[in-house]
């Protein structure tokens, strides 16, 4: 585990955030995690504006995106990312409760890199988060310009 890519989580439900972080913690992936609580905040982070004016402008290695979000919903965030020259390279994983076909179709049409339905079973959930974390933050080579911790 030479480098650890930064994971940006966009999730409005505090419990989901906590459970996700717990799962990542088990595998020491939690240091490089940024949590935003709605679509607007996520975009603020990505565009380095608002509360995130001061951060370095590197992109996260992966974005874990919930679909149902306050203010700006997940599909809109996805659409904005994928239509922005600088942001479109960020791998985006939709992590949602919805197994609805139209959500999947819409996400893939917008160019999502993966679509994961949150399992109800906690073991499966932890496994899913762990695998996502390891794959995207460790195994996957993120596009150049991503934040990585040596």
């Amino acid at each position: 585990m030479s480098e650890l890519g930064r994971i940006l989580i966009v999730e409005d439900d505090p419990k989901d955030v906590e459970l996700t972080l717990t799962a990542l913690e088990e595998y020491n992936l939690v240091n490089e995690v940024v949590v935003t609580r709605d679509g607007e905040e996520a975009l603020d982070y990505l565009y380095c504006r608002g509360n995130f004016k001061m951060r370095t402008s590197d992109n996260p290695a992966v974005l874990l995106l919930d679909l149902k979000l306050p203010k700006v919903d997940g599909l809109e965030v996805l659409q904005q990312i994928k239509s922005n020259e600088k942001l479109k390279m960020i791998p985006v994983v939709v992590l949602t409760s919805s197994r609805e076909e139209r959500d999947m179709v819409a996400s893939y049409k917008l160019g999502v890199n993966a679509y994961v339905v949150k399992p109800v079973d906690f073991h499966e959930f932890v496994n899913a988060i762990k695998e996502l974390g390891i794959f995207w933050a460790v195994i996957n080579e993120p596009p150049p310009g991503s934040i990585r911790k040596k």
């Binding site: 459970l19 679909l67 149902k68 409760s97 919805s98 197994r99 076909e101 949150k118 399992p119 109800v120």
Partner: protein, 501 residues
């Protein structure tokens, strides 16, 4: 038609008698005139007698009268009198006699011919009048409105039906101009209608008329043009039927139809709205109901992990129950969503090899056999035409049911086959030798959340067969089952053959 000539012997005798008598009378009168010294009366008197005879008795008696008159004249009046000697100076007189006879004969024959023709013409006319009268009275019998008008629109015939419909009697109507009397409103310019009538000899259409009492009616009108012997149009026969009520009913039906269409549009809109709401509801279940469930399971799991050392046996069991319930609720939500998705999704019809589909289903379901050695019997299966994914889901449900309910058998046996159904159905069946069911609960089998077994006996959400039924119904087919407690069960579904390629 000429009357036969009366020519009995008696009439013949009378005719010739007339010749003799008329000449005799003329002779008598002439002799009498001579006695009274009235000169030159004999010649015209005898001519009169001849003329009368020819006129009334014909040419035969006329010839006799001529002969007798000539002889009488010669004997009684021509010099020398009382002898038949013909003085040459009298010859022109005789020629005059004969000439007169011929002229009279000619006149008489003309007269007779004319008389005969007149009689014939009268007979013809009588027959025609009788026929016309009969036709007119027949036309009067009908309740249909029939009238005739001439080419200047003046009514010449008006039947009882016309009186009944419009209120005017024939006396009132005949001689009036139709379109003035009835205040006709035409569906097209009158010139066009007349042009059509003259061209084709007939016209049909709806007219608006005003009755005697002032009410307006709509009539279905048929006009027929009558031409005279020279081919000139001379009358129009108009037959009308009151269609006011029908038109009103039609209008009402049209209005009702429009209302109905409007209502259908509204209802469809309502339904679409309800459908959208349902979809939103299903989406909400999918998303919002699952999240708290995941949290419950997640935190319970974390609690178990952190505190299980300090838990006694009972508490650990409680934790297990909480986790099991959360899992079960997750399954229920998934199944319900799948069920609702079938109702909402469109069926994508393709040719489906049932044999191939069953193979796939078996490999999917096999892990559920838990190492039990199931005796599978798969018959030859036809091709179906339907939504592959849906049919697959139906088969998975049915086969996995069969596996589930034969699990406690030492020798589980499952047969999948196909029989020809009634009319144009293909019937597929899945038979097992499992625990079966009591036929008195057969109606509950396919209901949502209906279960015939306790949860601890056989797991399940009670949605599987409801899903199967919904899928088959969406294919226009039917599902049913037969079973006996402890004797196994057979599930059938039919798909119409018209779906078959």
């Amino acid at each position: 038609m000429s009357k036969p000539e009366i020519s009995s012997p008696r009439v013949t005798v009378l005719k010739f008698g007339l010749a003799i008598v008329s000449v005799a009378i003329a002779l008598g009168l002439a002799l009498l005139a001579q006695v009274y010294a009235i000169p030159n009366l004999e010649f015209p008197l005898l001519l009169c007698a001849i003329a009368i005879t020819i006129w009334y008795a014909g040419n035969g008696p006329g010839a006799l009268a001529l002969l007798v008159a000539v002889l009488s004249f010669e004997y009684f009046f021509a010099e020398p009198r009382f002898s038949f000697y013909v003085h040459p100076a009298d010859r022109p007189l005789f020629v005059l006699f004969i000439l007169f006879g011929f002229i009279m004969a000619w006149f008489s024959s003309r007269r007779r011919r004319i008389e005969r023709e007149l009689l014939e013409a009268r007979d013809k006319l009588e027959i025609e009048v009788a026929e016309r009268t009969q036709q007119a009275s027949l036309l009067n019998l009908t309740h249909d409105t029939v009238f005739v008008r001439d080419m200047s629109d003046v009514i010449t015939y008006w039947n009882r039906g016309a009186r009944e419909l419009y209120g005017w009697t024939a006396q009132d109507a005949v001689g009036r101009r139709t379109h003035d009397l009835l205040q006709t409103i035409f569906p097209a310019p009158l010139e066009e209608i007349n042009a059509e009538l003259l061209r084709s000899g007939r016209w049909e259409g709806d007219l608006t008329h005003t009755k005697l009492d002032g009410t307006k009616i709509i009539v279905g009108s048929r006009w027929a043009l009558q031409r005279n012997a020279q081919g000139q149009p001379d009358a129009i026969l108009e037959t009308n039927n009151d269609v006011t009520e029908r038109k009103r009913a039609e209008g009402e039906i049209r209005k009702l139809n429009e209302e109905l269409e409007q209502r259908v549009v509204e209802r469809t809109g309502d339904l679409e709205m309800v459908n959208k709401e349902l979809e939103a509801f299903a989406y909400s279940i999918s998303h919002d109901l699952r999240a708290p469930l995941r949290h419950m399971a997640g935190y319970a799991e974390l609690l178990q992990k952190n505190a299980s050392s300090s838990f006694d046996e009972k508490s650990r069991r409680y934790m297990t129950m909480i986790l099991e319930s959360a899992k079960r609720m997750g399954d229920l939500i998934d199944d319900l969503l799948a069920f609702s998705r079938i109702g909402r999704a469109e069926t994508k019809k393709t040719k489906v090899s049932l044999e191939q589909l069953v193979k796939e289903v078996l490999s999917e379901v096999r892990p559920e056999t838990d190492g039990h050695n199931v005796g599978w019997r798969i018959d030859a299966l036809p091709n179906l035409y339907g939504d592959r994914a849906m049919l697959r889901l139906a088969l998975v449900n049915l086969v996995s049911n069969a596996v589930k309910f034969t699990r406690k058998r030492p020798q589980p046996e499952i047969e999948i086959g196909c029989v020809d159904g009634k009319e144009n159905d293909i019937v597929v069946f899945i038979r097992d030798n499992g625990v079966g069911f009591d036929m008195k609960y057969v109606n509950k089998l396919f209901g949502v959340f209906q279960r015939l077994h306790r949860a601890e006996e056989f797991e399940g959400t009670g949605i599987g067969l409801a899903t199967v039924q919904r899928i088959i119904h969406r294919h226009g087919g039917r599902v049913w089952a037969e079973g006996l407690v402890d004797q196994g069960a057979t599930f059938y579904f039919s798909v119409p053959k018209s779906w078959e390629e």
